[in-house]
Protein backbone atom coordinates (compact mmCIF):
# COMPACT_ATOMS: atom_id res chain seq x y z
CA UNK A 1 0.00 0.00 0.00
CA UNK A 2 1.51 3.27 -1.03
CA UNK A 3 2.22 5.61 1.80
CA UNK A 4 0.49 8.97 1.75
CA UNK A 5 3.83 10.75 1.87
CA UNK A 6 6.18 10.40 -1.06
CA UNK A 7 9.65 8.91 -0.70
CA UNK A 8 10.85 10.98 -3.62
CA UNK A 9 13.12 12.68 -4.14
CA UNK A 10 15.65 10.22 -2.79
CA UNK A 11 18.69 12.20 -1.69
CA UNK A 12 22.18 11.27 -0.64
CA UNK A 13 23.87 14.19 0.97
CA UNK A 14 27.66 13.91 1.20
CA UNK A 15 27.38 10.22 1.98
CA UNK A 16 30.42 8.09 2.75
CA UNK A 17 30.44 4.45 3.69
CA UNK A 18 33.57 3.16 5.35
CA UNK A 19 33.93 -0.43 6.48
CA UNK A 20 37.12 -1.10 8.41
CA UNK A 21 39.87 0.63 6.47
CA UNK A 22 38.04 0.47 3.15
CA UNK A 23 36.13 3.42 1.77
CA UNK A 24 33.29 1.90 -0.20
CA UNK A 25 31.42 5.10 -1.01
CA UNK A 26 33.20 8.40 -1.01
CA UNK A 27 31.30 11.68 -0.50
CA UNK A 28 28.38 10.82 -2.72
CA UNK A 29 25.92 13.60 -3.48
CA UNK A 30 22.95 12.39 -5.43
CA UNK A 31 19.32 13.29 -5.87
CA UNK A 32 16.99 10.91 -7.62
CA UNK A 33 13.59 12.26 -8.56
CA UNK A 34 10.57 10.74 -10.20
CA UNK A 35 10.58 9.87 -13.88
CA UNK A 36 12.27 7.41 -16.20
CA UNK A 37 14.54 4.68 -14.73
CA UNK A 38 17.84 5.66 -13.14
CA UNK A 39 20.64 3.19 -13.87
CA UNK A 40 23.60 2.99 -11.54
CA UNK A 41 26.40 2.08 -13.86
CA UNK A 42 29.93 1.11 -13.01
CA UNK A 43 32.50 -1.66 -13.00
CA UNK A 44 32.40 -4.45 -10.43
CA UNK A 45 33.39 -3.25 -7.00
CA UNK A 46 32.53 0.35 -7.71
CA UNK A 47 30.00 0.42 -4.85
CA UNK A 48 26.72 -0.11 -6.70
CA UNK A 49 25.32 -2.68 -4.30
CA UNK A 50 26.27 -0.59 -1.26
CA UNK A 51 24.65 2.45 -2.81
CA UNK A 52 21.41 0.53 -3.34
CA UNK A 53 21.46 -0.78 0.24
CA UNK A 54 21.82 2.77 1.51
CA UNK A 55 18.97 3.87 -0.75
CA UNK A 56 16.82 1.08 0.66
CA UNK A 57 17.71 2.01 4.22
CA UNK A 58 19.32 -1.36 4.94
CA UNK A 59 22.58 0.30 5.92
CA UNK A 60 23.47 3.62 7.47
CA UNK A 61 26.13 5.85 6.02
CA UNK A 62 29.34 6.42 7.98
CA UNK A 63 29.07 10.09 7.13
CA UNK A 64 26.40 12.21 5.55
CA UNK A 65 22.69 11.44 5.34
CA UNK A 66 20.20 9.64 3.16
CA UNK A 67 16.71 11.09 2.97
CA UNK A 68 13.48 10.11 1.32
CA UNK A 69 11.13 12.93 0.42
CA UNK A 70 13.08 15.03 2.91
CA UNK A 71 12.75 12.55 5.78
CA UNK A 72 15.71 10.60 7.13
CA UNK A 73 13.73 8.16 9.26
CA UNK A 74 11.48 6.69 6.59
CA UNK A 75 10.54 3.05 6.96
CA UNK A 76 10.73 0.81 3.90
CA UNK A 77 6.95 0.79 3.29
CA UNK A 78 7.05 2.41 -0.09
CA UNK A 79 10.32 0.97 -1.29
CA UNK A 80 11.29 -2.49 -2.49
CA UNK A 81 14.61 -4.02 -3.42
CA UNK A 82 15.50 -6.90 -5.66
CA UNK A 83 18.82 -8.44 -4.63
CA UNK A 84 21.20 -9.89 -7.15
CA UNK A 85 20.57 -13.31 -5.64
CA UNK A 86 17.10 -13.01 -4.15
CA UNK A 87 16.17 -15.32 -1.30
CA UNK A 88 13.35 -17.67 -2.20
CA UNK A 89 11.30 -18.63 0.83
CA UNK A 90 10.89 -22.39 1.16
CA UNK A 91 7.35 -22.34 -0.14
CA UNK A 92 5.55 -22.39 -3.43
CA UNK A 93 5.92 -19.55 -5.92
CA UNK A 94 2.42 -18.34 -5.07
CA UNK A 95 3.15 -18.43 -1.34
CA UNK A 96 6.25 -16.27 -1.89
CA UNK A 97 4.15 -13.60 -3.55
CA UNK A 98 1.40 -13.92 -0.96
CA UNK A 99 4.04 -13.43 1.73
CA UNK A 100 5.11 -10.16 0.12
CA UNK A 101 1.47 -9.07 -0.09
CA UNK A 102 0.88 -9.89 3.56
CA UNK A 103 3.95 -7.90 4.61
CA UNK A 104 2.72 -4.98 2.56
CA UNK A 105 -0.56 -5.05 4.46
CA UNK A 106 -2.74 -6.49 1.72
CA UNK A 107 -5.98 -7.76 3.31
CA UNK A 108 -6.23 -11.55 3.50
CA UNK A 109 -9.32 -11.71 1.32
CA UNK A 110 -7.61 -9.96 -1.58
CA UNK A 111 -4.37 -11.90 -1.53
CA UNK A 112 -5.34 -14.84 -3.69
CA UNK A 113 -6.51 -12.64 -6.53
CA UNK A 114 -3.58 -10.22 -6.25
CA UNK A 115 -1.14 -13.16 -6.19
CA UNK A 116 -2.64 -14.46 -9.37
CA UNK A 117 -2.39 -11.04 -11.03
CA UNK A 118 1.23 -10.59 -10.02
CA UNK A 119 2.24 -14.09 -11.12
CA UNK A 120 0.54 -13.47 -14.41
CA UNK A 121 2.38 -10.19 -14.77
CA UNK A 122 5.74 -11.97 -14.50
CA UNK A 123 4.62 -14.96 -16.57
CA UNK A 124 4.73 -17.50 -13.76
CA UNK A 125 1.06 -18.30 -13.36
CA UNK A 126 1.57 -21.81 -14.70
CA UNK A 127 4.25 -22.44 -12.06
CA UNK A 128 2.28 -20.99 -9.14
CA UNK A 129 2.39 -24.20 -7.10
CA UNK A 130 6.00 -25.10 -7.91
CA UNK A 131 8.42 -24.85 -4.95
CA UNK A 132 10.15 -21.50 -5.40
CA UNK A 133 13.59 -23.00 -4.87
CA UNK A 134 13.11 -25.40 -7.75
CA UNK A 135 12.59 -22.59 -10.29
CA UNK A 136 15.35 -21.66 -12.76
CA UNK A 137 17.49 -18.58 -12.16
CA UNK A 138 15.41 -16.44 -14.52
CA UNK A 139 12.17 -17.66 -13.02
CA UNK A 140 13.45 -16.90 -9.53
CA UNK A 141 14.31 -13.34 -10.57
CA UNK A 142 10.83 -12.88 -12.00
CA UNK A 143 9.25 -14.32 -8.89
CA UNK A 144 11.32 -12.00 -6.72
CA UNK A 145 10.15 -9.15 -8.94
CA UNK A 146 6.54 -10.16 -8.42
CA UNK A 147 7.17 -10.29 -4.68
CA UNK A 148 8.77 -6.84 -4.76
CA UNK A 149 5.96 -5.43 -6.90
CA UNK A 150 3.47 -6.87 -4.41
CA UNK A 151 4.58 -4.03 -2.15
CA UNK A 152 3.39 -1.51 -4.76
CA UNK A 153 6.61 0.37 -4.18
CA UNK A 154 7.08 3.97 -5.10
CA UNK A 155 10.79 3.21 -5.57
CA UNK A 156 11.98 -0.16 -6.83
CA UNK A 157 15.70 -0.79 -6.38
CA UNK A 158 17.23 -3.57 -8.46
CA UNK A 159 20.74 -4.93 -8.08
CA UNK A 160 21.91 -6.30 -11.43
CA UNK A 161 18.86 -8.50 -11.76
CA UNK A 162 19.96 -9.85 -15.14
CA UNK A 163 23.64 -10.37 -14.35
CA UNK A 164 23.50 -14.15 -14.60
CA UNK A 165 20.60 -14.57 -17.01
CA UNK A 166 20.60 -15.59 -20.66
CA UNK A 167 19.30 -13.07 -23.26
CA UNK A 168 15.77 -14.48 -23.36
CA UNK A 169 15.41 -14.35 -19.59
CA UNK A 170 17.01 -10.92 -19.52
CA UNK A 171 14.48 -9.60 -21.99
CA UNK A 172 11.64 -11.03 -19.94
CA UNK A 173 12.88 -9.31 -16.78
CA UNK A 174 13.52 -6.01 -18.57
CA UNK A 175 10.00 -6.01 -19.96
CA UNK A 176 8.55 -6.41 -16.49
CA UNK A 177 10.75 -3.58 -15.24
CA UNK A 178 9.77 -1.37 -18.15
CA UNK A 179 6.08 -2.06 -17.50
CA UNK A 180 6.54 -1.16 -13.83
CA UNK A 181 8.24 2.07 -14.80
CA UNK A 182 5.39 2.91 -17.15
CA UNK A 183 2.88 2.43 -14.39
CA UNK A 184 4.67 5.00 -12.26
CA UNK A 185 7.20 3.09 -10.18
CA UNK A 186 10.55 4.81 -9.92
CA UNK A 187 13.19 2.31 -11.04
CA UNK A 188 16.73 2.54 -9.65
CA UNK A 189 18.77 -0.27 -11.11
CA UNK A 190 22.41 -1.23 -10.84
CA UNK A 191 23.96 -2.53 -14.01
CA UNK A 192 27.27 -2.84 -15.80
CA UNK A 193 25.67 -3.47 -19.16
CA UNK A 194 25.69 -0.59 -21.65
CA UNK A 195 23.02 -2.29 -23.75
CA UNK A 196 20.71 -2.22 -20.77
CA UNK A 197 21.32 1.52 -20.44
CA UNK A 198 20.25 2.00 -24.04
CA UNK A 199 17.17 -0.14 -23.59
CA UNK A 200 15.93 1.13 -20.24
CA UNK A 201 17.63 4.17 -18.84
CA UNK A 202 16.26 7.66 -18.48
CA UNK A 203 19.35 8.81 -16.61
CA UNK A 204 22.65 7.31 -15.57
CA UNK A 205 24.68 7.56 -12.38
CA UNK A 206 28.22 6.47 -13.23
CA UNK A 207 30.13 5.16 -10.23
CA UNK A 208 33.87 4.45 -10.13
CA UNK A 209 35.61 3.32 -6.94
CA UNK A 210 32.89 4.69 -4.70
CA UNK A 211 32.60 8.07 -6.32
CA UNK A 212 29.88 9.45 -8.55
CA UNK A 213 31.87 10.35 -11.62
CA UNK A 214 28.95 11.34 -13.80
CA UNK A 215 25.23 11.89 -13.36
CA UNK A 216 23.55 12.61 -16.68
CA UNK A 217 20.66 11.72 -18.92
CA UNK A 218 21.14 8.43 -20.71
CA UNK A 219 21.55 10.03 -24.12
CA UNK A 220 24.11 12.57 -22.84
CA UNK A 221 26.03 9.82 -21.06
CA UNK A 222 26.15 7.59 -24.12
CA UNK A 223 26.79 10.28 -26.73
CA UNK A 224 28.69 13.00 -24.86
CA UNK A 225 30.37 11.55 -21.80
CA UNK A 226 31.95 14.41 -19.87
CA UNK A 227 34.71 12.48 -18.08
CA UNK A 228 37.52 10.31 -19.50
CA UNK A 229 36.41 7.33 -17.34
CA UNK A 230 32.86 7.51 -18.68
CA UNK A 231 34.15 7.90 -22.23
CA UNK A 232 36.38 4.86 -21.76
CA UNK A 233 33.48 2.85 -20.31
CA UNK A 234 31.19 3.79 -23.17
CA UNK A 235 33.93 2.88 -25.68
CA UNK A 236 34.17 -0.53 -24.04
CA UNK A 237 37.63 -0.03 -22.58
CA UNK A 238 38.45 -1.41 -19.17
CA UNK A 239 37.78 1.04 -16.40
CA UNK A 240 39.58 0.26 -13.14
Amino acid sequence: MRAARSDLPLSLDDVSLIVGATTILDRVNLTIGPGAPTLILGPNGSGKTSLLRLCMGLASPSRGAVSWGGRTDGGPESRAILFQKPVMLRRSAAANVAYGLAQAGCPRGLRARRTEELLDRVGLLALALRPARRLSGGEQQRLALARALARQPEILLLDEPTASLDPAATRFVEEIVRAAAHSGTKIVMASHDLGQVRRLAGEVVFLVRGRVVEHASASDFLDRPSTPQAAAFVRGDLVL
Binding site: M56, P76, A80, F83, R90, R91, Q103
Partner: protein, 230 residues
Amino acid sequence: MSETVSAWQLIASGDATLFAIVRLSLAVSLTAVAIAMVVGLPLGAILALTRFPGRSAVVVILNGFMGLPPVVVGLTVYLLLSRSGPLGELGLLFTPTAMVIAQALLVLPIIAALTRQTVEDLWHEYREELTAMGVGPTGQVATLLWDSRFSLVTALLAGFGRAAAEVGTVMIVGGNIDGFTRTMTTAIALETSKGNLPLAMGLGLILIVLILLINATAWGVRAWSEQRAG
Protein backbone atom coordinates in the same frame (compact mmCIF):
# COMPACT_ATOMS: atom_id res chain seq x y z
CA MET B 1 2.67 -62.38 33.06
CA SER B 2 3.27 -66.07 33.52
CA GLU B 3 6.47 -68.05 33.14
CA THR B 4 6.15 -68.95 29.50
CA VAL B 5 4.86 -65.67 28.09
CA SER B 6 7.13 -63.91 25.63
CA ALA B 7 6.74 -60.40 24.26
CA TRP B 8 5.65 -61.75 20.88
CA GLN B 9 2.88 -63.78 22.44
CA LEU B 10 1.77 -60.63 24.23
CA ILE B 11 1.52 -58.80 20.92
CA ALA B 12 -0.13 -61.71 19.15
CA SER B 13 -2.72 -62.10 21.88
CA GLY B 14 -3.44 -58.36 21.86
CA ASP B 15 -2.53 -58.15 25.53
CA ALA B 16 -4.47 -55.23 27.02
CA THR B 17 -1.81 -54.46 29.62
CA LEU B 18 0.88 -54.23 26.98
CA PHE B 19 -1.19 -51.89 24.86
CA ALA B 20 -2.01 -49.72 27.85
CA ILE B 21 1.72 -49.45 28.55
CA VAL B 22 2.52 -48.61 24.95
CA ARG B 23 -0.26 -46.04 24.87
CA LEU B 24 0.92 -44.39 28.07
CA SER B 25 4.52 -44.29 26.84
CA LEU B 26 3.50 -42.64 23.62
CA ALA B 27 1.02 -40.28 25.30
CA VAL B 28 3.58 -39.10 27.86
CA SER B 29 6.47 -38.69 25.45
CA LEU B 30 4.44 -37.09 22.68
CA THR B 31 2.78 -34.67 25.11
CA ALA B 32 6.18 -33.80 26.57
CA VAL B 33 7.58 -33.16 23.10
CA ALA B 34 4.51 -31.08 22.20
CA ILE B 35 4.97 -28.89 25.28
CA ALA B 36 8.72 -28.63 24.73
CA MET B 37 8.01 -27.71 21.12
CA VAL B 38 5.56 -24.93 21.99
CA VAL B 39 8.15 -23.42 24.32
CA GLY B 40 11.37 -24.51 22.62
CA LEU B 41 10.75 -23.43 19.04
CA PRO B 42 10.08 -19.74 19.81
CA LEU B 43 12.74 -19.76 22.53
CA GLY B 44 15.38 -21.14 20.15
CA ALA B 45 14.32 -18.77 17.39
CA ILE B 46 14.34 -15.71 19.64
CA LEU B 47 17.77 -16.68 20.92
CA ALA B 48 18.93 -16.99 17.31
CA LEU B 49 17.71 -13.50 16.40
CA THR B 50 18.62 -11.49 19.45
CA ARG B 51 21.94 -10.14 20.67
CA PHE B 52 22.40 -9.31 24.33
CA PRO B 53 25.22 -9.41 26.86
CA GLY B 54 25.82 -12.95 28.04
CA ARG B 55 24.15 -14.48 25.01
CA SER B 56 27.11 -16.78 24.33
CA ALA B 57 26.87 -18.11 27.86
CA VAL B 58 23.17 -18.81 27.39
CA VAL B 59 23.87 -20.65 24.13
CA VAL B 60 26.63 -22.74 25.74
CA ILE B 61 24.41 -23.59 28.70
CA LEU B 62 21.52 -24.51 26.42
CA ASN B 63 23.74 -26.74 24.30
CA GLY B 64 25.16 -28.32 27.43
CA PHE B 65 21.69 -28.99 28.78
CA MET B 66 21.02 -31.21 25.78
CA GLY B 67 22.97 -33.74 27.81
CA LEU B 68 21.08 -33.24 31.08
CA PRO B 69 21.21 -36.46 33.08
CA PRO B 70 17.64 -37.80 33.25
CA VAL B 71 18.12 -38.89 36.84
CA VAL B 72 19.00 -35.36 37.89
CA VAL B 73 15.99 -33.92 36.08
CA GLY B 74 13.85 -36.64 37.66
CA LEU B 75 15.18 -35.93 41.12
CA THR B 76 14.67 -32.19 40.71
CA VAL B 77 11.09 -32.61 39.57
CA TYR B 78 10.56 -35.16 42.35
CA LEU B 79 11.71 -32.68 44.98
CA LEU B 80 9.56 -29.93 43.46
CA LEU B 81 6.41 -32.03 43.22
CA SER B 82 6.80 -33.98 46.43
CA ARG B 83 4.20 -33.18 49.09
CA SER B 84 7.06 -31.71 51.11
CA GLY B 85 8.28 -29.70 48.12
CA PRO B 86 7.25 -26.23 46.93
CA LEU B 87 4.66 -27.57 44.46
CA GLY B 88 3.49 -30.37 46.72
CA GLU B 89 -0.01 -29.00 46.96
CA LEU B 90 -0.65 -29.87 43.36
CA GLY B 91 -0.44 -33.56 44.27
CA LEU B 92 1.22 -34.40 40.97
CA LEU B 93 3.95 -36.80 42.08
CA PHE B 94 3.50 -40.36 40.81
CA THR B 95 1.11 -39.27 38.06
CA PRO B 96 1.51 -39.24 34.27
CA THR B 97 1.43 -35.44 34.50
CA ALA B 98 4.60 -35.48 36.57
CA MET B 99 6.21 -37.68 33.94
CA VAL B 100 5.18 -35.26 31.21
CA ILE B 101 6.64 -32.32 33.12
CA ALA B 102 9.93 -34.12 33.74
CA GLN B 103 10.28 -35.29 30.16
CA ALA B 104 9.33 -31.88 28.79
CA LEU B 105 12.16 -30.36 30.87
CA LEU B 106 14.51 -33.03 29.57
CA VAL B 107 13.55 -32.47 25.95
CA LEU B 108 13.21 -28.67 25.99
CA PRO B 109 16.95 -27.91 25.77
CA ILE B 110 17.34 -30.32 22.85
CA ILE B 111 14.58 -28.71 20.85
CA ALA B 112 15.54 -25.16 21.79
CA ALA B 113 19.25 -25.66 21.09
CA LEU B 114 18.74 -27.36 17.73
CA THR B 115 16.16 -24.74 16.79
CA ARG B 116 18.56 -21.97 17.69
CA GLN B 117 21.25 -23.43 15.45
CA THR B 118 18.93 -24.08 12.51
CA VAL B 119 17.19 -20.72 12.69
CA GLU B 120 20.45 -18.82 13.13
CA ASP B 121 21.87 -20.41 9.97
CA LEU B 122 18.75 -19.52 8.03
CA TRP B 123 18.70 -16.02 9.51
CA HIS B 124 22.06 -15.23 7.90
CA GLU B 125 20.47 -16.02 4.56
CA TYR B 126 17.11 -14.29 5.13
CA ARG B 127 18.12 -11.27 7.15
CA GLU B 128 18.39 -8.64 4.40
CA GLU B 129 15.39 -9.89 2.49
CA LEU B 130 13.13 -9.87 5.55
CA THR B 131 14.41 -6.52 6.72
CA ALA B 132 13.79 -5.09 3.25
CA MET B 133 10.24 -6.38 3.39
CA GLY B 134 9.78 -4.65 6.73
CA VAL B 135 9.05 -7.89 8.60
CA GLY B 136 8.80 -7.29 12.35
CA PRO B 137 10.39 -9.47 15.05
CA THR B 138 7.36 -11.73 15.50
CA GLY B 139 7.02 -12.17 11.78
CA GLN B 140 10.73 -12.95 11.49
CA VAL B 141 10.49 -15.67 14.11
CA ALA B 142 7.40 -17.17 12.47
CA THR B 143 8.89 -17.03 8.98
CA LEU B 144 12.20 -18.55 10.00
CA LEU B 145 10.53 -21.34 12.00
CA TRP B 146 8.21 -22.16 9.14
CA ASP B 147 10.99 -22.14 6.57
CA SER B 148 13.15 -24.34 8.84
CA ARG B 149 10.30 -26.78 9.33
CA PHE B 150 11.99 -29.69 7.60
CA SER B 151 15.14 -29.40 9.70
CA LEU B 152 13.08 -28.79 12.81
CA VAL B 153 11.30 -32.10 12.35
CA THR B 154 14.67 -33.69 13.03
CA ALA B 155 15.00 -31.66 16.22
CA LEU B 156 11.57 -32.81 17.35
CA LEU B 157 12.45 -36.41 16.56
CA ALA B 158 15.66 -36.11 18.53
CA GLY B 159 13.58 -34.85 21.44
CA PHE B 160 11.04 -37.60 21.07
CA GLY B 161 13.74 -40.25 20.87
CA ARG B 162 15.27 -38.96 24.06
CA ALA B 163 11.91 -38.90 25.85
CA ALA B 164 10.70 -42.29 24.69
CA ALA B 165 13.97 -44.01 25.45
CA GLU B 166 14.75 -42.66 28.89
CA VAL B 167 13.90 -44.42 32.11
CA GLY B 168 15.55 -42.28 34.79
CA THR B 169 13.03 -39.48 35.13
CA VAL B 170 9.83 -41.45 34.62
CA MET B 171 10.91 -44.07 37.14
CA ILE B 172 11.56 -41.43 39.80
CA VAL B 173 8.60 -39.13 39.27
CA GLY B 174 6.15 -41.71 37.93
CA GLY B 175 6.90 -44.49 40.37
CA ASN B 176 6.34 -47.26 37.80
CA ILE B 177 2.81 -47.85 39.12
CA ASP B 178 1.13 -50.77 37.40
CA GLY B 179 -1.61 -49.60 35.05
CA PHE B 180 -1.04 -45.94 35.86
CA THR B 181 2.52 -44.76 35.34
CA ARG B 182 4.21 -47.84 33.94
CA THR B 183 5.84 -47.09 30.61
CA MET B 184 7.75 -49.25 28.17
CA THR B 185 11.09 -48.33 29.70
CA THR B 186 10.09 -48.79 33.33
CA ALA B 187 8.40 -52.08 32.42
CA ILE B 188 11.65 -53.19 30.82
CA ALA B 189 13.56 -52.20 33.95
CA LEU B 190 11.04 -54.09 36.08
CA GLU B 191 11.16 -57.27 34.01
CA THR B 192 14.94 -57.12 34.09
CA SER B 193 14.91 -56.93 37.86
CA LYS B 194 12.54 -59.88 37.92
CA GLY B 195 15.18 -61.76 35.99
CA ASN B 196 12.73 -62.12 33.13
CA LEU B 197 15.29 -61.17 30.52
CA PRO B 198 13.57 -62.55 27.40
CA LEU B 199 10.40 -60.57 28.13
CA ALA B 200 12.45 -57.47 28.94
CA MET B 201 14.32 -57.85 25.66
CA GLY B 202 11.07 -58.41 23.79
CA LEU B 203 9.59 -55.22 25.23
CA GLY B 204 12.79 -53.45 24.29
CA LEU B 205 12.43 -54.59 20.70
CA ILE B 206 8.82 -53.40 20.62
CA LEU B 207 9.98 -50.00 21.87
CA ILE B 208 12.66 -49.82 19.20
CA VAL B 209 10.16 -50.76 16.51
CA LEU B 210 7.78 -48.05 17.75
CA ILE B 211 10.49 -45.41 17.69
CA LEU B 212 11.51 -46.51 14.20
CA LEU B 213 7.91 -46.36 13.02
CA ILE B 214 7.48 -42.82 14.29
CA ASN B 215 10.74 -41.78 12.67
CA ALA B 216 9.77 -43.43 9.40
CA THR B 217 6.42 -41.64 9.45
CA ALA B 218 8.08 -38.30 10.12
CA TRP B 219 10.57 -39.00 7.35
CA GLY B 220 7.77 -39.81 4.95
CA VAL B 221 5.81 -36.69 5.82
CA ARG B 222 8.94 -34.61 5.46
CA ALA B 223 9.84 -36.09 2.08
CA TRP B 224 6.31 -35.62 0.83
CA SER B 225 5.96 -32.01 1.96
CA GLU B 226 9.49 -31.16 0.84
CA GLN B 227 8.50 -32.41 -2.58
CA ARG B 228 5.66 -29.93 -2.54
CA ALA B 229 7.27 -26.92 -0.92
CA GLY B 230 10.97 -27.19 -1.69
